[in-house]
C-alpha cells in the first residue's frame, strides 16, 4: 500500500490547498511547501535562505515547509493531516482486503455450484486457494472411506510434493490436516526428511477438510519464499476448505445415490433379460403387451399360426448309453443348434419338452417350412461331426401344421404360465410322430402347404391321408425332401414321378400295380423307406383284403 504524499494532499482541488491558500492570503504569509525532492507544491520560491521545517509521516520526511512565521506550525499541521490520510488509507486497504476475500468466497461458491464431480470440486478448490493465497504448489489429500486409504484428487503448481510418499505417510498427515487442525507450519524439517516435500519449500500452510466432526482430508499449500503465510491466509484457507468439504460430501452422496440407482436398474434389467428367455417376448407381444410385468391372468389372443415339433428319433435307446449328465448336455447342445434356426426364420420356441421342441411361426407357414429344412440340414452336419468322433448318427423328426391357436396366461394368482391351447398343437405333434411311421424326416400338413404361395420351390412328395382322431376331416400329409442329404435328394427327384404314380394307384386301391411301381422305385433308391412303407401296406391289403369304407387314410395315432 502506497503512503499518502504531500503532492496528493495538496492537489488542485483539495480542501487542504484551498484552506492553506485562504489562510496565507488572509495573513499575507509567504509560505512555500516543497516535496522531499524540493519540487514546489505550494506558493512561490522565496529568495534568500529560509528555515525549512520538515513534514513527516512515520518518521519519514515527506517534504518541507519554509517561509515566514508559522511555517513550523504549518509543517506540523501538514504532518498531522498526512498521518490522518495514511490512517484513512490503511483502513480503506483493510476494507478492500475484506471485500476481496468476500469476493473470493462469493465466486468460489458460485464455481462450486457448477459441478457435482468430487474431484473437479477438489481441483477448483485448489486452484482458488493457490490464486488467493499466493503459493508455489498445492495438494488436496482425501481419506477414502471405502478403500481405507488416502487419495489425491487434486495437485497443482510446481512439483514440490512427492505424491507417492505423501500417500504412504498417513501417520504424519494424521498429525497435521487429518487431525482436524488447521495451521501454518513453521517447522517443516520432518516433512523434508521424509521426502514428502522438496527442499526448496520454505513455508507450509494447511487446513483440514471436514464435515461436522468427520475429517475428510486436508488442503496443503507450499511456498518457496521465506516470508510466512499470514493469519488472514489461514482464515481464508479454512473457509475454502470448509466450503469445499461440504460440496465434496454432497457430490459423493450424489454419486453414491446415482450408483445405487444404476445398480438397481441393472439388476432389474438382468431379471427382465432372464424372464424374456423363459417366456418368449413374441408371446407377450402377441398378447399386445410390452413386458412380462404387464400381462395378467386371463390375457389371451387367438391367431393363425404354424406349429412345428421336433423330436430326436430313438432318443430312449440313445440316452440309455449316456449318464444323466451327458444326456442333459446332449439335449442342451442339440437345442442350442436348433434355437437360432427357429429365430432366424421369424419363429420362437414356445416350449422345450425334453428332447422335443415346440416352436411357433406366427408370420408365415413358409417360415416354418424353411426352418424345418434348415434344421434337418443342421442335423446332417452334426452327424458328420459325430461320425468322425465315432458316435452314432442322430435322426430327428420334424412335423408341422397350421391353424388357429389361443395364446394366453393361465394358472392362478400364485402361479402363472404362458400357455397355448389348441387342436393345432395336437395335430402338429401327431404329424411329427408320423415321421416315425412313414420313416420320413420332415412332414407338413396340407393346411400348411395351402398357405405357401410358391410350392414349386420345394421338392414335395404327397404321402397318404390321415384321419385326425375324433374328426371327420381328412388331412393330406406332405413330405419335404429339401433338407435331406444331396445324394438322397437326387435319387428322390429322379423317382418322384413314379412315386406320385404309385401313390395314385395305392389310393385307387390298385395295390398290385402300385407294388410294382414301388418296387421299381426301390431299385433306384433302396433307402426310400417311405416307398417301402406304402409297398408293405399295399402287400398287406392284397393279402388280407381292404377294410370296408377304406378311404386310403391312416387312422391318426396317438402320440
Amino acid at each position: 500500500m502506497a503512503q499518502p504524499t504531500l503532492k496528493s494532499l495538496l492537489g488542485k482541488r483539495s480542501e487542504t490547498t484551498a484552506w492553506l491558500q485562504s489562510w496565507t492570503d488572509f495573513e499575507k504569509l509567504g509560505i512555500v511547501v516543497e516535496d522531499y525532492q524540493n519540487n514546489v507544491l505550494f506558493g512561490f520560491p522565496l529568495t534568500g535562505e529560509q528555515q525549512k521545517y520538515p513534514v513527516t509521516l512515520d518518521a519519514d520526511i515527506s517534504g518541507w515547509v519554509s517561509g515566514e512565521a508559522n511555517a513550523e506550525m504549518i509543517a506540523r499541521l501538514l504532518s498531522l493531516m498526512l498521518q490522518k490520510e495514511a490512517e484513512k488509507k490503511k483502513l480503506g486497504s483493510e476494507v478492500l482486503n475484506l471485500y476481496q476475500e468476500l469476493n473470493v468466497i462469493y465466486n468460489f461458491s458460485e464455481k462450486l455450484t457448477e459441478t457435482i464431480d468430487p474431484d473437479v470440486i477438489a481441483q477448483i478448490t485448489l486452484e482458488q486457494a493457490i490464486h488467493s493465497i499466493p503459493s508455489h504448489s498445492g495438494v488436496i489429500v482425501l481419506w477414502d472411506e471405502g478403500n481405507r486409504q488416502l487419495r489425491i484428487p487434486a495437485m497443482s503448481g510446481e512439483l514440490l510434493f512427492n505424491e507417492e510418499r505423501l500417500l504412504k505417510s498417513s501417520d504424519i498427515l494424521l498429525k497435521i490436516g487429518l487431525s482436524g487442525q488447521s495451521e501454518i507450519i513453521t517447522d517443516i524439517s520432518l516433512l523434508k526428511e521424509k521426502g514428502i516435500i522438496e527442499n526448496e519449500v520454505q513455508s507450509l500452510i494447511y487446513a483440514a477438510m471436514k464435515v461436522k466432526h468427520r475429517i475428510m482430508g486436508a488442503i496443503i499449500l507450499a511456498g518457496k519464499n521465506a516470508e510466512k503465510y499470514s493469519a488472514a491466509h489461514l482464515k481464508l484457507l479454512v473457509t475454502l476448505a470448509l466450503q469445499s468439504s461440504t460440496a465434496i460430501e454432497s457430490a459423493m452422496l450424489y454419486e453414491k445415490n446415482i450408483r445405487e440407482v444404476r445398480e438397481r436398474e441393472e439388476a432389474i434389467l438382468r431379471i427382465h433379460e432372464v424372464t424374456k428367455k423363459f417366456v418368449p417376448i413374441e408371446f407377450i407381444l402377441a398378447l399386445g403387451k410390452e413386458s412380462l410385468t404387464d400381462v395378467l391372468l386371463g390375457d389371451q389372443v387367438e391367431k393363425i399360426v404354424t406349429v412345428l415339433f421336433t423330436d430326436i428319433r430313438d432318443f430312449t435307446s440313445l440316452s440309455e448309453k449316456m449318464t444323466p449328465e451327458e444326456n442333459f448336455h446332449f439335449v442342451s447342445s442339440f437345442n442350442a443348434q436348433l434355437g437360432p434356426i427357429i429365430r432366424e426364420n421369424r419363429g420362437f420356441i414356445n416350449q422345450y419338452l425334453g428332447d422335443s421342441i415346440m416352436a411357433l411361426f406366427p408370420e408365415s407357414p413358409e417360415d416354418a417350412l424353411k426352418a424345418g429344412i434348415a434344421m434337418q440340414k443342421a442335423v446332417y452336419e452334426l452327424n458328420l461331426r459325430r461320425q468322425s468322433n465315432g458316435l452314432p448318427p442322430i435322426k430327428a423328426g420334424i412335423g408341422m401344421h397350421t391353424g388357429p391357436l389361443i395364446m394366453g396366461i393361465t394358472g392362478d394368482e400364485h402361479r402363472l404360465d404362458a400357455a397355448t391351447i389348441s387342436d393345432t398343437v395336437n395335430t402338429a405333434a401327431r404329424i411329427e410322430s408320423l415321421t416315425k411311421y412313414y420313416r420320413s424326416p420332415l412332414l407338413l400338413s396340407s393346411e400348411t402347404l395351402r398357405h405357401i404361395n410358391d410350392t414349386k420351390k420345394y421338392q414335395l412328395r404327397q404321402l397318404g391321408k390321415v384321419q385326425l382322431k375324433g374328426k371327420y376331416n381328412l388331412l393330406n400329409i406332405i413330405e419335404c425332401i429339401d433338407g435331406n442329404p444331396e445324394e438322397d435328394q437326387q435319387k428322390k427327384k429322379k423317382t418322384l414321378p413314379h412315386f406320385n404314380e404309385a401313390m395314385g394307384l395305392y389310393l385307387d386301391q390298385r395295390f398290385e400295380h402300385a407294388v410294382q411301381v414301388y418296387k421299381n422305385i426301390m431299385v433306384t433308391d433302396e433307402e426310400d423307406y417311405t416307398a417301402q412303407f406304402f409297398m408293405d401296406k399295399a402287400l398287406q391289403y392284397l393279402r388280407n383284403g381292404v377294410p370296408e369304407n377304406w378311404t386310403g387314410a391312416e387312422e391318426m395315432l396317438n402320440k
Partner: protein, 126 residues
C-alpha cells in the same frame, strides 16, 4: 492531459472500495473524483470531462441509467467511457444499459482485479 476517473455511488463504502482498488493509479497521476448521486455526477462530468466513470445504477435523485443516457445521447460525450455497476442477477438491465449507451456493464459484488484492469485499459496505462 491530466487523467480523471469519476466514481459515482450513493454508498460511501463502495466509493471508498473502488477508490482503494484503483489506488495504484494515483501514482500514475490519475485524479479521482467522486459523486454520491446522479445530479452531482452529471455536473462533474460536464465540468471535468473525466475519461472514465464508474456509475452505480440504483441511486437517489437521478439514477445511473439516466445519467448515462444524458451524457451519451443528449450531450454526445462519446469520449467518456462509462462502466455501469449494478447488483448481480439483474440481467435484464444489461440490455437497458446498452440502450442508454454504456460501454461496459458490470455486476456487484465486483471483482477488484477486473475493475483495475478495465481502468488501466481505458486510460492506456499498462
Amino acid at each position: 492531459m491530466e487523467q480523471k476517473i469519476l466514481i459515482v455511488d450513493d454508498e460511501a463504502h463502495i466509493r471508498m472500495l473502488i477508490e482503494q482498488t484503483l489506488e495504484e493509479l494515483e501514482d500514475e497521476g490519475v485524479e479521482f473524483l467522486t459523486a454520491e448521486n446522479g445530479e452531482i455526477a452529471l455536473d462533474i462530468i460536464q465540468k471535468e470531462n473525466p475519461q472514465l466513470v464508474f456509475l452505480d445504477v440504483m441511486m437517489p435523485k437521478m439514477n445511473g441509467m439516466e445519467v448515462c443516457r444524458r451524457v451519451k445521447k443528449e450531450l454526445g460525450m462519446d469520449n467518456v467511457f462509462i462502466v455501469l455497476l449494478t447488483a448481480k442477477g439483474q440481467e435484464t438491465d444489461r440490455q437497458k444499459g446498452q440502450d442508454v449507451g454504456a460501454d461496459v456493464y458490470m455486476t456487484k459484488p465486483f471483482d477488484p482485479e477486473v475493475i483495475l484492469d478495465k481502468a488501466r485499459q481505458v486510460l492506456g496505462i499498462s
